[in-house]
């Protein structure tokens, strides 16, 4: 009898303890509208869910565990906007992650998130139109994106060409908003760096052959080739380029930082190819993302938008934590500054980092999130700048060739102006 009583007491005690550890019984939903039916869109959603899982391990945000409701945009603006509207109205989310394509993010922003006062954080929308919209004051401060790369990358591309002494470059760019922006920016940056752009050719998606486009670029006899393409089209175009006797001097945008591209083109042809990307800051904690990702998915995070998607999710959740429970979308958007404060306490991008951030924020302090794409810091328009890295392909992935800190990047961009 005594034993039984002790047992009951022990069980009761353990139950009490375990509920104490769980701390929260509530669930807060966040929305994600991402193109999961597209091959490169699924990993972006996967890594966002990964960030949510890490935060839940740290006990959730703003006192509740987080559930990410994921909807597919099908890269169709109508479908994406409808999904976003359903997330906001039916699921009651205050934070929306997405979309990827600017052509989907823009109508979501103008017809769903801004009218409903929901914060929208995109990993990958790159169009310069968002900056203009924010400058006109039409985003109500609700729009953020972690895709830092257009201006930084084009400047780095020009730097690579100048450092290597390549005097003339042909540009192949993806014929979408990102590619058109890149082509425009890189042309200006090359000109400023004293490199001649001999041809600038648009590459449309899904063509069986790019011979005509490649021949046009080749005909201008450049010393090097600049590629602002995605892996699938990049592979086809580079294969044709090389088979027609084009130079192996190539500068690659970060979208080509992909194992698929390296394997399909062949490493032996990529010996003098240099890529550009934004980079993590040089602190120990910054490797956390890479290590955690490799442990979880079994490969390095190579692929367009993965690091950006992770940071978008983490910052959104940190901001939710900083804004506290029952915060509105505008409150959360305002709290983003508290978690990306350059003078705040640095926190790493993982479970431990989130736990540390929670402690600091609860004492009323601010934190500096050191994410997978670097010390993310948003300007007034929700745009980010970041340190940069020049990389090349290796057997197992990519290797860094040169690192430029945020101030180096800013100084170089200023020198081009």
């Amino acid at each position: 009898m005594k034993k039984a009583l002790v047992f009951v007491a022990a069980v009761a005690g353990m139950t009490a303890l375990s509920t104490g550890v769980q701390a929260q019984d509530c669930t807060t939903k966040i929305g994600a509208a991402l193109p999961t039916s597209v091959d490169w869109g699924r990993p972006i959603a996967e890594v966002a869910q990964f960030a949510v899982d890490q935060v839940n391990e740290a006990g959730g945000a703003a006192g509740c565990s987080i559930e990410m409701v994921l909807r597919d945009t099908q890269v169709d603006p109508k479908v994406g906007v409808d999904a976003a509207k359903a997330l906001v109205d039916l699921e009651g989310v205050k934070v929306l992650l997405g979309a990827v394509s600017s052509g989907v993010s823009m109508p979501i922003l103008s017809s769903v998130t801004v009218p409903s006062g929901v914060m929208q954080m995109s990993c990958c929308s790159s169009s310069t139109a968002f900056t203009k919209l924010a400058e006109e004051g039409k985003t109500d401060g609700l729009w953020f994106r972690t895709f830092a790369t257009t201006a930084v990358q084009s400047a780095m591309g020009a730097k690579v060409a100048a450092d290597k002494g390549w005097k003339s470059v042909a540009v192949l760019y993806k014929n979408d908003d990102w590619g058109q922006d890149m082509a425009k920016l890189i042309a200006a940056d090359f000109a400023a760096a004293g490199v001649e752009v001999t041809a600038s050719v648009a590459i449309n998606d899904g063509q069986p052959s790019y011979r005509a486009e490649v021949t046009e670029a080749l005909g201008s006899q450049p010393e090097a080739l600049y590629l602002a393409l995605y892996p699938t089209e990049g592979t086809s175009a580079v294969r044709e380029w090389l088979s027609l006797g084009g130079t192996q001097n190539m500068i690659l945008a970060n979208s080509l930082k992909s194992d698929e591209f390296r394997d399909n083109v062949g490493l032996q042809y990529l010996g003098s190819a240099l890529g550009t990307d934004t980079a993590s800051p040089r602190v120990e904690s910054a490797n956390a993302f890479k290590a955690a990702y490799t442990a979880k998915f079994g490969s390095e995070p190579n692929g367009p938008g993965l690091a950006n998607s992770y940071d978008a999710t983490m910052i959104a959740l940190l901001a939710m934590e900083a804004a506290g429970s029952d915060a509105s979308g505008a409150d959360i958007a305002a709290a983003v500054a508290k978690v990306t404060d350059p003078s705040g306490k640095p926190v790493a991008a993982d479970t431990a980092g989130f736990t540390a951030a929670k402690a600091t924020l609860s004492e009323g302090g601010t934190v500096m999130y050191q994410g997978a794409t670097g010390n993310v810091r948003f300007d007034a328009n929700g745009d980010v700048s970041a340190p940069a890295v020049v990389w090349k392909f290796t057997d197992s992935g990519t290797e860094e060739v040169e690192y430029l800190s945020l101030s180096d990047v800013d100084a170089y961009i200023a020198s081009l102006k």
Binding site: T36, Q49, D82, K85, A86, D89, S111, D176, Q180
Partner: protein, 326 residues
């Protein structure tokens, strides 16, 4: 609860706009038998036309005329009509699948022009900076969406009444005569080429009206809005609803768009967490199955065409196609 209503208003607006486009296609295919594979070109012409005429000035591309909204919308429709007239002149000699291929090509060309003619259409970035009419007055929240829905439904009803009257008129009979047997119609002294062009342009103007309303609702249009998938969606709506029946066309729009969006919502809510990443692909399979199932078991659509036979003495008798009156 207010969230559900707010979402339903939003959903109904998009469905009603698509319904207008389906009515336009029904005039072309259901009544006249023109296999228009380039619906999206007319839709896009209306959308781009409206935003270019009615938007605020933007750096780097044409537009920003800030016309009074109804004029901008009419301008978009006119643009759509002019495009259809040119395309019709060139391609309407073709029949059936050849016409479909030619018009599909026009639609793809249209998308590519929009994507590349940066100085006119803003290129891949699309056109933004459009101020939605009455926004200052109504704000941008639920009230605005509700008023917009009412306006769209009024337009939809107007187009429906117009087409219903058109199809029972002698002109409507003539269209069906051409659809069924062009040679016979010609032998009666009718001019099929002219009539086909009239029907094609009229249908395209209606589709252009839908496009104009669509871009107004989102205050944005980009080449991503005019991809061939939209042509497919509108066709699916017409086939499922019932070609040749205006009520069917509208019902098809609501049903297919409902299935398209509801399947995504249901999957996100009920699919197990491990399967969440694949719901996008599953959704495509489900939508495909609905359409294939309809074609297999109810090829005439939910609301089959009702043919009206004029009787001597002014009375009329209705027969469905199933009774063998084709």
């Amino acid at each position: 609860m207010i969230g559900v209503i707010s979402y339903l208003v939003f959903f109904a607006t998009v469905a009603a706009i698509l319904g207008i486009a389906v009515l336009g296609l029904n005039l072309q295919w259901g009544n006249t038998g023109l296999f228009n594979g380039g619906v999206v070109a007319s839709f896009g012409a209306g959308a781009y036309g409206t935003l270019i005429l009615g938007g605020t000035p933007q750096e780097g591309h044409l537009g920003g005329f800030e016309l009074f909204y109804p004029l901008a919308l009419l301008g978009g429709m006119a643009f759509s009509g002019v495009l259809a007239w040119v395309v019709g002149k060139l391609t309407l000699r073709l029949r059936h699948d050849y016409l479909a291929i030619a018009t599909f090509g026009v639609a793809v060309a249209f998308e590519n022009v929009m994507r590349n003619a940066t100085s006119v259409t803003g290129g891949a970035q699309g056109i933004r900076g459009f101020e939605r009419p009455l926004r200052d007055f109504l704000g941008s929240g639920f009230a605005y969406n509700l008023v917009f829905l009412i306006a769209v439904v009024v337009v939809l009803a107007g187009v429906y009444v117009f087409l219903e009257r058109l199809t029972v008129s002698p002109f409507g009979r003539l269209l069906r005569a051409i659809r069924e047997d062009e040679t016979a119609a010609r032998s009666l002294g009718k001019a099929p080429d002219k009539l086909r062009l009239t029907a094609f342009v009229t249908g395209s103007v209606i589709i252009g009206l839908a496009g104009g309303l669509y871009s107004t609702f989102y205050a944005f249009v980009s080449p991503q809005d005019v991809l061939p998938i939209l042509t497919f969606q509108i066709w699916a709506m017409l086939i499922v609803g019932g070609a040749g029946n205006n009520k069917g066309a509208m019902a098809g729009a609501f049903l297919i768009w409902g299935a398209w969006t509801f399947s995504g919502w249901a999957l996100s809510r009920f699919a197990p967490i491990e399967a969440q990443l694949y719901t996008g692909s599953i959704q495509f399979v489900l939508i495909g199955m609905v359409i294939v199932g309809m074609l297999l078991w109810r090829p005439q659509g939910l609301f089959p065409e009702r043919l009206v036979v004029s009787q001597p003495g002014g009375g009329s008798r209705e027969k469905t196609q199933a009774e063998g009156l084709t």
